[in-house]
């Protein structure tokens, strides 16, 4: 196991290098805006644009720029400064990371709880009215765009613009360190909205895998041994059926750590997703690099954790 983890950690480094390189190449080779021209304003002379390009270091060959960037990241964990507002990229990302993590983790808890519960019930009661209702509801949740769902949730339940004023509305987020109770209540609506589609997908996925595993010989054996139905379902059927859920959850949470742009936007949760969106609009390469690097880090780390978890969940998996 230790060798496996070390090997995977090395791969994480390689992958992150590849991601940064790819981002650089995309920025330079594909049509985008010229940051120097953006900064030069009205009627700039070519000389002025060149001068700005020089000051931003954009006139050097891109491999040189890339190596300088890497040096900064590896030696000083320096992600550079935003072309847009001249503020440290690292500072801005770290400033927003807690909100994104709060949103992603909370939503993951909600969707795993709902998705697994509904999935198990639907699988056990397959074909029943309850099963049909929950799976129908799941289809609706999957189909509803998260932005639209967010607006509807706010117009129905937000305490400022809602019809039934229950939950804090958009822009109410406060950091956990500042006020845990307010942090919790301010994120309730975003959590449920973000979790809705995921919960629906997980429920349908788990239902399918559970139905398959419930038909396996070892389940019949377990029942023949006289184990309670609860134990058969939770300890035997669920344990083997849940592997794909763990895989999906690892990836999904990793992706969300990189930012949930729409949810962050509609609820005004100041997270990394919105920062990434803005930096792409502004051709702000240092910020794009920083946000992509963080997103990639979370995704590969989540994958690593998932792989390690496999060994504990499924006794057949050995590294």
């Amino acid at each position: 196991m230790a060798r496996f983890i070390i090997r995977r950690l090395l791969w994480v480094v390689v992958l992150l290098l590849a991601v940064t390189l790819l981002t650089f190449i995309i920025f330079y080779l594909f049509p985008s805006a010229d940051p120097a021209a953006l900064r030069a304003g009205r009627q700039p002379s070519p000389a002025l644009i060149e001068q700005i390009r020089h000051q931003l270091g954009l006139d050097r060959p891109w491999p040189v720029q890339y190596l300088d960037y890497l040096k900064g990241v590896v030696l000083h964990f320096d992600l550079g400064y935003s072309y847009q507002n001249s503020i440290s990229v690292r500072t801005q990302i770290f400033d927003r990371l807690p909100a994104t993590i709060s949103l992603a983790v909370g939503a993951a808890v909600v969707w795993l709880f709902i998705g697994i519960t509904v999935g198990i019930i639907s699988a056990v009661r397959s074909g029943s009215i309850l099963d049909r209702m929950t799976m129908g509801g799941a289809l609706v949740a999957i189909s509803a765009p998260v932005y639209w769902l967010g607006l509807v949730a706010l117009y129905l339940f937000a305490n400022d613009i809602g019809v039934v004023k229950i939950f804090p509305g958009a822009g109410s987020y406060v950091p956990l360190s500042q006020d845990p109770a307010k942090w919790f209540t301010s994120l309730l609506l975003p959590w449920f909205v973000l979790a809705a589609a995921f919960a629906a997908i997980y429920a349908r996925l788990l239902r399918t895998t559970m139905i398959e595993s419930m038909a396996e010989d070892y389940i019949r054996t377990a029942r023949a041994k006289g184990l309670s139905e609860r134990r058969v379902i939770l300890r035997h059927a669920l344990r083997s059926a849940i592997t794909p859920i763990v895989t999906a959850a690892g990836l999904d949470v990793g992706v969300l750590f990189g930012g949930a742009i729409l949810t962050e936007s509609v609820f005004n949760v100041p997270g990394v997703g919105r920062l990434a969106f803005d930096s792409i609009q502004n051709s702000d390469l240092p910020m794009i690099q920083g946000t992509v690097l963080f997103a990639a880090f979370f995704i590969v780390t989540a994958n690593l954790i998932v792989d390690v978890l496999y060994a504990f969940i499924d006794p057949r998996v050995r590294y």
Partner: protein, 614 residues
Amino acid sequence: MNAVNPPSRAPDGTGRLMERTCMRTFMRASALAATLAFVVAGCGGGSEKKGTGGTASGAPVSGAKSGGHLDVLSASDIDSLDPGYWYYQYDYMAVGLPTQRWLYSWAPTATTPTPDIASGMPKTSADGKTVTIKIRPGIKYSAPLKGRTVKAADIAYAFARDLNPRTGNGYAGAYYANIVGADKVQSGKTDKLAGVTASNDTTLVIKLTKPTGAISTAQALALPGTIPVPEDYAKKYDKGSQSSYGQHQVFTGPYMIKNNGNGKLTGYVAGKRIELVRNPDWNGKQTGDYRPAYLDSITFLGGNDLAVGSRKILSGRSMISGDYAAPPTAVLKSALSSRKSQVSIHGAGSIRFIALNTKVKPFDNVNVRRAVAAVINKNTLRLTRGGPALGTIATHFIPPDLSGFDDAGGTAGPGADFTKNPQGDLQLAMSYMKKAGYSSGKYTGKSVLMVGDNQPPASKTGEAVQSQLQQLGFKLNYRQVPHPTMLSKFCGVPKAAVAICPNLGWGKDFFDGQSMVDPVFNGKNIAQTNNSNYAQVDDPKINSLLAKASASTDAGERSKLYGEVDKTITEQAYVIPWIWDNDVNLESSNVAGVNNKFNVSWDLVFTSLKGGST
């Protein structure tokens, strides 16, 4: 206003506007979903009774009371903290006007500059090349320069910073290029600007290489690049590739960004929040500052969704809109029917237009251009943006309130037949095509390249243009790309040979035709990158008129000349102007919002709460 006002409200014109323009389009896209959400959620416009006095006038309020706190809901953030960088509407609204004093500024209803730090209008020498400005003594800086007063040398240093590429100023190249030594600072040869000096603490002298009307009339001096920057304090931050002075700046206005008194801003969190509090060192009343500054504190809250934020403002208290574009159609419609007095609609001083590249066939032929101008249904294009509330159908380029507008024919326009019918006129268009040599009245040549924005509402405008041109037989190779790409890789690059750019816009920098027509139609401005002369117009008549107008220090003469330029542009159909934009601003019912005509947004130093600190 900036090269098009605030980014978020800016017409999709110049390079620097795109970021927020894109955010605007992003928000607009969201509006569709919002509309549906309204239907589903069954949410109406609230219970307040219909306003009786039309939309909010935004006029200054007599007898306003002091006190209270105001929240400004915004979608995005200011572009920079550096006064030398500020160029867009939201920069001006949030920090430029409330926290600093400018050499010349803009009172809410003014269309000519108002002396602020300056004690009067500039005096220009007989040869037009020396401009002298007296400044008021005793204007104080905030901590950590407590007790220190503004000197003419601080403004001279500000000019030098504007021209230094390190600052990233967006307009210095356009308006300060005639200052002696400007080229040397821009090219990085020196940090010292020879042409702006302080002959004593209260006298600023600007030496010009040639007479420059925009400086002599103070129009180009009423920009935030004239905010004083004390060199000995700022120098340590003006190093490296980008200045960090903005994050340590000192203030001269009635408000300041909350700070620790040692030059560190604590009230600014990028993208999230700007907290303005009263500047205890502001001595405006003793030093001629004309602004009342009623509010005790103001907080700008970024990251708000357009649909949600608009509703919060309308139904909440002590809130106004910040960098928002117009609210989503459903919200605006609802507000205009039930909360009219909370909606302020004003002309933005900007234009949206379609550029026809005169260097690409068949648009080198004036009759083809006129045919296109004739067939375009401007009403349809306006509907793609949200309808009449969003602007007035344009009949020529210079928008209302600017010098040159009336001289170009006012609202009716110069009167060319191909601009007369806002619904478009296919028969007239075909007659022009026949004059251009297309006997059938329809285009029969090769397909032409059109490049537009890929985000609504601009993408919808582009699609409408496509459909209208097809009526004239045009086969279009229509590419839709992100807005920044459209400008920096296609429409702003002559080598790309784009024939039609349907999603362009341009806004005033001040109330003078120069900032509207010179960058877009002067032949000398055709550049290989970042080109703003999108139609590649190099018309000797226009060039000559622009040169004459630029040197003129007589406001009346400038107005006539820019009007003449505008008439020629219309006559030659180099571009097809289709809407003079409006800006739509929202306020809560207990806010007495005052609109600033120059910035076309709320003026926070005149805005107050009804009843004071409630």
